[in-house]
């Protein structure tokens, strides 16, 4: 399900299936997209941040079009304990690889992979320097 921002319209709440993973997309060329994601994060229930949220940063192929400070993105990942993935949508190979990664994450979040839960993403997130 694609949405331009959160919260999702309440009229369709009863028709909506369970949400297993939220991928927030940030376009590095648009400061607006970062602001939009930050505002949308406020509408997400805290339980999602146990491995069911990730940030997908797009447009990273061209560093000269960068309108967003990378530190702000890293900070977002840290504050919300969620992984930050990078991709360049314009390149098919990367697009496909990223989609596969997201699908894998989704399978884990939906409980389809025995022995691995979304909570493991949190432990993978911990900075090795902190240990």
């Amino acid at each position: 399900h694609l949405a331009t921002s959160l919260p999702l319209p309440s009229e369709r709440d009863h028709l909506r299936p369970r949400i297993d993973l939220i991928a927030f997309m940030i376009d590095i060329k648009s400061k607006y997209s970062l602001k939009n994601v930050e505002a949308s994060l406020d509408h997400v229930d805290a339980s999602f941040f146990l491995g069911k949220v990730c940030f997908l940063v797009t447009g990273v192929g061209r560093v000269n079009n960068c309108s967003v400070d990378m530190n702000a993105i890293w900070k977002l990942g840290e504050v919300y304990c969620s992984p930050v993935l990078f991709c360049e949508l314009e390149l098919e190979g990367i697009r496909v690889a990223t989609a596969q990664r997201l699908l894998r994450m989704l399978q884990i979040c939906a409980g389809h992979i025995p022995g691995v839960s979304a909570l493991s993403f949190g432990s993978l997130m911990r900075n090795s320097a902190d240990d």
């Binding site: 060329k29 648009s30 400061k31 607006y32 997209s33 602001k35 560093v63 000269n64 079009n65 960068c66 309108s67 967003v68 400070d69 530190n71 702000a72």
Partner: protein, 289 residues
């Protein structure tokens, strides 16, 4: 930082310079500038013979001058800037000393310790190159330097992030009376026809805004730049219902200087010349590393 000899660098002002980053030059020496001028002159003549010259059929006598600009540096550890000038000697009256400057290029390094500290002895660090004049001459001069000193030139592009830093930094600079308006130009993506939005702000209003944002004079943080730009964007949104933050900032013009994302700069105040060069040197060094 005020330049001690503003007159000597005045000729650099109000010209459009295209920016390049240059990797360290191998076995370059300040003592051999005249020799370099001679060799470069011969190279240009040879290129003309090969038919790679700018104009065909006209007998062009191009004079090359290579000189040092000792005032253009940040600290004593920086290399003095090197200026290369191509002038046209009028063929009609060779005795006539009147020469027309057709191309200028200069290498400089302002506070480039990050690079010069990490480079072996035989290398000279002049990471920033600025060119004004026909692209064909830039290409010929660039090729000669690349071949002679084993260095590499790359166009230095300025990202919207870099440009917003410049907008904030330059707004904070004190300028006398008639300061020109600050202008920001944005390019709107994903439209069938290209659209540019120009946002002009009264310099005093811009400075007043920046003064409320900046906490420590002389220091700027990314946060402060973000707040400054966000204020400008929300003001624009309030009036025009357009989110400038979703567009690409492509040009910044202030009384100090103007910069374009394609890597083009124009210096307007000699007082702040070294300051701007310091920022550009830093960007050139990041591109090299």
């Amino acid at each position: 930082q005020e330049s001690a000899y503003p007159q000597r660098t005045a000729f650099l002002l109000r010209k459009q310079w295209t920016l390049y980053s240059v990797t360290p030059l191998y076995r370059f020496s300040n003592a051999h500038l005249r020799d370099y001028a001679r060799l470069l002159s011969a190279f240009i003549a040879a290129e003309k013979q090969k038919g790679l010259a700018v104009e065909i059929g006209v007998e062009l006598d191009i004079k090359v001058a290579v000189s040092s600009l000792p005032d253009l540096k940040g600290s004593d550890r920086d290399q003095a800037a090197i200026l290369v000038q191509l002038s046209l000697r009028s063929p009609a009256s060779p005795k006539n000393s009147e020469e027309k400057l057709i191309w200028s290029g200069w290498f400089c390094c302002v506070s480039g310790d990050d690079l010069s500290d990490n480079v072996p002895e035989d290398f000279t660090c002049l990471p920033l190159f600025l060119a004004n004049g026909a692209e064909s001459y830039t290409s010929i001069v660039g090729s000669w330097f690349q071949k002679t000193f084993d260095c590499c030139f790359r166009r230095l592009a300025l990202s919207p992030l870099n440009l917003s830093w410049m907008a904030a930094m330059w707004t904070g600079c004190k300028v006398d009376k008639t300061a020109s308006a600050m202008e920001l130009v944005f390019s709107v993506p994903c439209l069938p026809h290209p659209l540019d939005i120009s946002y002009a702000i009264h310099p005093e209003d811009a400075k007043a805004l920046w003064d409320t944002v900046q906490k420590t004079p002389g220091e700027i943080t990314q946060e402060e730049v973000d707040v400054f730009m966000d204020c400008l964007y929300s003001h624009f949104h309030r009036h025009f219902k357009i989110h400038l933050s979703a567009t690409k900032l492509v040009k910044v013009s202030t009384a100090i200087a103007s910069a374009h994302c394609d890597g083009i700069i124009k210096f307007l105040q000699s007082q702040y010349l070294t300051g701007v060069l310091m920022l550009l040197t830093e960007l050139a060094i990041s591109q090299i590393q």
